[in-house]
């Protein structure tokens, strides 16, 4: 079985975000970047399937600037066999990403595509569903457990009412939630070995796919500030405050 994993390079989730004062976007200069957390869960799952002998090849793909090869090196260190960087400096919307990934799928013909459920930059939660739709493949989003059973993948999904269980014939697209697994930390030997694995860099134009943006981002703003709080000095005050707020009365 062959697995394709899509990984995105985003601002590290521990970074204190700064919105540019001119509203043109968030500050990315000099900011630490890393693999999107949900993509790490997807990559970890693929690595485990490979280690278990269920998968025989794992290919990682990323769409982004030349620097995005760092997240592909992480993917290779985690266990991918080879990697593809589709290089572009443009911001590609989710429709464009899905179209590019479809082109990769047509070349690579994977049996299973593992992706993150959302990228923590745009928080879109689109691309896996879009790719599955373009391919006419079944999809299982927000996966918290994945098991391969002859020709199918059984997936537990985290949904609004709890969990739902599905059986998808392969090929299929599965998007990872954080509870799917705990991604490994890559040790130095794995990182060194990753540098010897194949990493193909291909310009986006090679794919001849329409990735022109459909949306205009007019401005990006920080959230409105919240008013100063009040410290409650005693349990009595806490009880009174909760009672009053819960009854819908205003506290002076």
């Amino acid at each position: 079985m062959k697995i394709l994993v899509a990984v995105k390079r985003v601002i590290d989730h521990n970074v204190r975000l700064r919105v540019r004062p001119d509203g043109s976007g968030v500050e990315t200069a000099g900011v630490r970047m890393s693999m999107n957390p949900f993509c790490k869960n997807a990559m970890e799952e693929a690595a485990r399937l490979k280690q278990a002998g269920t998968a025989d090849e794992v290919v990682a793909v990323s769409i982004g600037p030349a620097k995005a090869n760092d997240v592909l090196l992480t993917a290779l260190a985690m266990g991918a066999d080879r990697a593809i960087l589709i290089e572009t400096d443009a911001e590609v919307e989710t429709l464009g990403v899905a179209r590019l990934l479809k082109a990769v799928v047509e070349e690579e013909k994977p049996d299973l595509i593992l992706m993150g459920k959302q990228a923590v930059d745009g928080d879109n939660n689109h691309t896996g569903q879009m790719l599955a739709g373009l391919l006419d493949w079944p999809q299982a989003t927000f996966a918290s457990a994945v098991a391969i059973e002859d020709g199918s993948v059984r997936v537990m999904r985290e949904v609004d009412y709890g969990q739902s269980e599905h059986l998808l014939p392969l090929p299929a697209v599965v998007t990872a939630d954080l509870r799917l697994n705990t991604p490994r930390n890559t040790a130095l030997p794995a990182v060194m070995a990753a540098r010897k694995k194949p990493l193909a860099v291909r310009p986006v134009a090679e794919f001849g796919v329409d990735i022109a943006p459909r949306l205009v981002v007019e401005k990006v703003e920080p959230p409105p500030p919240r008013p100063e709080g009040t410290a409650l000095g005693s349990l009595d005050e806490l009880v009174l405050t909760v009672r009053t707020l819960a009854s819908g009365e205003a506290l002076s």
Partner: protein, 310 residues
């Protein structure tokens, strides 16, 4: 202009979020139709028809739609979409599953998790876990949108929309639904509750977390949890509030033993009033709160429960 709203329901009852999606749709202008898709859903359709401001309720009643299968739902909406300028869903598990798939098949870039509608083609949505808000303009002929239910007030009642049935395409899809594992709870719906009581990993056990549930019950509140509390097994996954959980905007949010990581704040920053209980005055949620109680939750929560019972 005409808007197709995807109703959210559990086959028995319409969710509170649907009336909120209808009010969002009303802001787009034009006729609002609501699609109720499922199996044995005549009562749900009747509930939808009573929401004010709807011209028509479309009912797609078929056994193949019972478990909200994404492939069949997508195929169904594809047969209807030609009549509409906007398709609008709720940013919940079903809307998030279906809308992007539908959009890609139509060559449309969707705009999701909308918190403000500025115009039929201009929307505000949070990015970076709610640390920034972007205003986007979309010149596409058909818009595929999802809204955060908690950001819109519910539409009123007293409507009497026409109910029409629509045919369901044959394609059931390839995936097979195996089972639903539902969290049993009498608490109100988290996403639309007016009070939310949430507990963090500081509760220390599933048993102790029941204190949070008891306090919530006394207040008529929904129960929330942090990712750390869910990961530890103290609370079910559908109670998680945050960037990757549910987004709430209650009148009152009580956060107990919660540090208030940015990813948690992403799910509750819209609360009107926040009360925090924590032993660490420096915890981000204590700084954010309108009312911060510095102290041990194992004293504060029993005291609250006793007072509310008394």
């Amino acid at each position: 202009m005409s808007v197709l709203v995807l109703a959210d329901h559990d086959l028995a009852k319409l969710s509170d979020a649907t009336a909120r999606a209808v009010s969002a749709a009303g802001q787009l202008g034009g006729a609002v139709h609501v699609l109720v898709a499922g199996s044995g859903i005549a009562d749900v359709a009747a509930e939808a028809a009573a929401i004010a401001g709807i011209a028509k309720v479309l009912v797609a009643d078929s056994e193949t739609l019972a478990d909200a299968p994404v492939e069949a739902l997508t195929a169904l909406i594809e047969t209807l979409i030609g009549d509409y300028t906007h398709v609008l869903g709720i940013a919940g598990a079903v809307g998030r599953d279906v809308l992007p798939r539908l959009a890609a098949r139509r060559g449309i870039q969707p705009v999701t998790d909308i918190t403000t509608i500025l115009a039929p083609d201009r929307f505000v949505r949070p990015v970076y876990a709610g640390n920034a808000f972007e205003t986007v303009q979309s010149a596409q002929d058909t818009q595929i949108l999802s809204v955060r239910a908690s950001s819109f007030a519910p539409a009123g009642e007293g409507g009497a929309a026409e109910i029409v049935s629509v045919s369901v395409p044959e394609t059931a899809g390839l995936a097979r639904f195996v089972a639903a594992h539902r969290t049993e709870s009498d608490a109100p719906d988290l996403q639309t509750a007016s009070i939310v009581v949430s507990g963090g990993v500081a509760l220390g056990s599933r048993e102790n977390f029941r204190m949070i549930e008891e306090l919530a019950a006394l207040l008529g509140a929904a129960v929330g949890a942090t990712r750390a509390a869910v990961d530890a097994g103290y609370a079910p996954n559908d109670w998680q509030v945050g960037q990757t959980g549910k987004v709430v905007a209650p009148d009152l949010y009580i956060g107990i033993g919660i540090s208030g990581a940015l990813q948690h704040q992403a799910g509750m920053l819209g609360a009107k009033k926040i009360v925090a209980i924590n032993t660490d005055a420096e915890a981000p949620l204590m700084k954010l709160a309108d009312f911060a109680y510095l102290g041990d939750l194992f004293e504060a929560v029993p005291a609250l429960i006793a007072a509310l019972k008394g």
